[in-house]
């Protein structure tokens, strides 16, 4: 199943980011002029572990979403950058390489050893709780409030997505 830029823009719209600003912000994220820099490669690498394997188009989706989420929100950007640095640091320490260079199994193990699979999210908490908040739940929220993420598990109009008032009337075979 293909994730699209449109999914990312829809997910952004669900979080209050004006779509035009999100789209425009992509270039800002790419050229990393905003500080601190969000490590896009690590973020995409995490998303590749979190999202179902049948999903394609993860990089474009994550870049677009993250760009929109962090543009003009320096505190949020700093929180995300800091949490990604924690992920990368642990990957270096435990698996001798940057997170994005690890295979899927070692990425998964890094996140689990961090405790990001079980710790309650807390933007002001210890590093694992911040990773859960700024990275894991951020990416899962984007995906499972998007039409593609919802459709993968049975609803084309997931909670958080403004999908109109026709879908609730439709049966499963419509």
């Amino acid at each position: 199943m293909e994730l699209t830029r449109r999914d990312a823009l829809a997910a952004l719209a669900s979080t209050g980011i004006v779509v035009g600003a999100g789209a425009a912000a992509v270039s800002r994220l790419d050229d990393q002029r905003a500080e601190p820099a969000v490590d896009v490669d690590t973020l995409v690498a995490v998303a590749e572990v979190l999202y179902p394997t049948e999903v394609d188009g993860v990089r474009e989706f994550v870049e677009t979403f993250a760009a929109g989420r962090t543009a003009d929100r320096p505190d949020y950007r700093a929180g995300m950058a800091d949490a990604l640095a924690v992920v990368d640091e642990r990957a270096e320490s435990w698996f001798d390489g940057p997170f994005a260079t690890l295979d899927r199994e070692d990425r998964d193990a890094t996140l689990r050893q961090l405790g990001a699979d079980a710790i309650p999210p807390d933007p002001a908490g210890r590093p694992p709780a911040r990773v859960r908040y700024y990275v894991v739940n951020e990416l899962l929220y984007a995906f499972y409030t998007s039409p593609t993420g919802g459709s993968l598990v049975g609803t084309e109009n997931p909670i958080g997505h403004p999908g109109g008032t026709a879908s609730y009337q439709r049966g499963p075979d419509a």
């Binding site: 979080t15 209050g16 598990v153 109009n157 958080g160 008032t165 439709r170």
Partner: protein, 538 residues
């Protein structure tokens, strides 16, 4: 004027001062301002920026935020205590701010039944209202027009109406059609549920966009909230609304018969005194009695407007009864956050032992995909295993809800707790709330009907909310009740306090009994009735 420069000083030559900018206060302000009166509204909470609604929705969905965070409730400003047998989660049950609790309500709008006004005469229980359905019927129609209600005249159990709903009803859901087959077998009639929510573009607001998070936040503005009438009152009719201005006490003249002013605090630490010719209390069923009790004086040693001793007493809520489980087929839940079908068939089968109840066919059973994904309680953390777990968890859930009536009892009440104070040093509300046998039996009756429907439908029921697990529906009623006898009630049938000649109450606090229907349309109808009476007095 920038945010920091907001003028919160009192207005001169004010005709009407209204305490509270929720639905009752907003409607009274709009109505009286449109008649040319100078109106000032004092609101304890802030103005919320509509641009932040999606951020508030995200707070609702993401588990790192609690329910009180969505609308910034809690803390010293909102402190309260519980003295009753049952815990009452007050700050989950209200919103302080311009728009009031309609910011987080679900938007269900029903007229009380004729029987609700005549409970004593018809069934020998509870108490009669001093007014009847006929007295409120024209105000119900006005309230539906003001709020913008989507509905259909297909409810055979509803009281008579003389005009169509302002908007067509939302169509039944797919899961309604599943329930319909079972209900038909059992001889239970289903019908539409009126919503204060746009089924089409209306009154300058869009049709519902389907975010699915109606309660506690509608990002699109399709759900009515009282900011609609606050904006109209301010921008079109010249009313003045002062936010972050909690009223501390009410002051009367030497005779003790006329209110002179209310004293309110502002964020800079100052206190101000707003004078007016007439005063309308519209701060809800908890803060209105609290303010009257806080305003005791030499002439009124038990609190203002409390010569009857009824201020704060007869606190009622509706009790939730529910049941849910899994069906061996897709149920298409969580596309929208509102209800499209109900059954009021059993509502008027009231007798000496069982009160009214209504049944709701929910469109939002079970967890949503994003709920499962973000919860660290889920078995799978992420990846294919998480997607599989969501497919297993979401998709086949189905549930019913229902509201059950609670009779007025003097011991259920709001008092002041002198040992705990708020951010201004005022004693906080102390909630005394308990359940009686009558509402327990009513919940059991609702559960029995729900169980029959679930059984007929073939649902594997795995949760039931019965008398032991029930909780309040967050409808605060009865604490300044209406009546003709000043020894037994706080306001007269025109909603003026018996004791003070220029003090009015627009709130569910004036309800004599609560029925089992969501109260906001009746609050709105009473507010419009109060506005007429205040207008005549001016």
């Amino acid at each position: 004027m920038s945010r920091g420069d907001v003028d919160r000083t009192p207005s001169p030559r004010t005709d009407v001062c209204i305490v509270g900018a929720g639905p009752a206060g907003a409607l009274v302000a709009h109505r009286l301002a449109s008649e040319g009166y100078d109106v000032v509204v004092l609101e304890a909470g802030p103005r919320f920026d509509p641009a932040n609604r999606l951020e508030r929705m995200e707070r609702h969905i993401r588990p790192s935020h609690g329910p009180e965070d969505v609308w910034d409730m809690g803390g010293p400003r909102d402190a309260y205590t519980n003295a009753g047998e049952e815990h009452y989660p007050l700050n989950a049950a209200r919103v302080k701010g311009v728009g009031g609790t309609t910011l987080h309500w679900q938007g269900m709008v029903f007229r009380l039944h004729e029987s609700d006004f005549e409970r004593r005469s018809r069934h020998g229980v509870e108490r009669d209202w001093p007014i009847g359905y006929d007295d409120l019927q024209p105000y119900y129609a006005e309230a539906e027009a003001e709020l913008g209600v989507a509905g259909a005249d297909d409810n055979p159990f509803a009281p008579p109406r003389s005009e169509p709903f302002p908007m067509p009803a939302f169509r039944p859901s797919y899961s309604d059609s599943l329930f319909a087959d079972a209900c038909e077998e059992l001889g239970i009639a289903m019908h539409s549920a009126p919503n204060a929510r746009n089924s089409e573009a209306h009154d300058g607001r869009s049709a519902c966009q389907g975010y699915g998070t109606c309660k506690p936040v509608c990002p699109s503005g399709a759900k009515y909230d009282a900011t609609v009438h606050v904006s109209k009152a301010e921008e079109e009719e010249g009313a003045r609304v002062i936010d972050r201005a909690p009223v501390q006490r009410i002051e009367h003249d030497r005779s003790g018969e006329t209110v002179e002013a209310v004293v309110y605090a502002t964020p800079d630490g100052a206190e101000h005194r707003q004078e007016a010719r007439q005063f309308v209390l519209a701060a809800g069923g908890i803060e209105i009695p609290r303010l009257l009790l806080l305003s005791r004086s030499t002439q009124h040693p038990d609190g203002l407007a409390n010569s009857s001793g009824a201020v704060g007493r007869y606190f009622m809520d509706h009790l939730f009864a529910g049941m849910g489980g899994e069906l061996d087929a897709p149920t298409r839940q969580k596309h929208v956050g509102f209800i499209t079908s109900e059954s009021h068939q059993f509502y008027d089968e009231v007798d000496g032992s069982v009160g009214p109840y209504k049944l709701e066919f929910l469109n939002y059973a079970g967890p949503s995909p994003v709920d499962v994904a973000l919860s660290t309680e889920s078995e799978a953390a992420w990846g294919d295993a998480l997607a599989e777990e969501i497919r297993d968890t979401y998709g086949n859930r189905i549930a019913m809800g229902g509201l059950c009536g609670q009779p007025p009892r003097a011991e259920n009440r709001v008092t002041l707790n002198p040992d705990v104070t708020d951010d201004h040093g005022n004693p906080v509300p102390d909630i005394h709330w308990s359940l009686g046998e009558r509402e327990r039996r009513t919940i059991e009756a609702a559960n029995e009907t729900q169980a029959a429907i679930m059984d007929e439908l073939g649902v594997d029921v795995d949760w039931t909310t019965g008398p032991e697990a029930t909780g309040p529906a967050f409808h605060h009623m009865g604490t300044t009740r209406m009546g003709t006898d000043p020894d037994e009630s706080v306001v007269n049938p025109r909603l003026r306090t018996h004791d003070l000649d220029n003090c009015w109450i627009a709130s569910s606090s004036t309800f004599v009994t609560g029925g089992a229907l969501n109260p906001t349309l009746t609050i709105a109808a009473l507010a419009l009735r109060a506005a007429d009476a205040v207008s005549e007095a001016l």
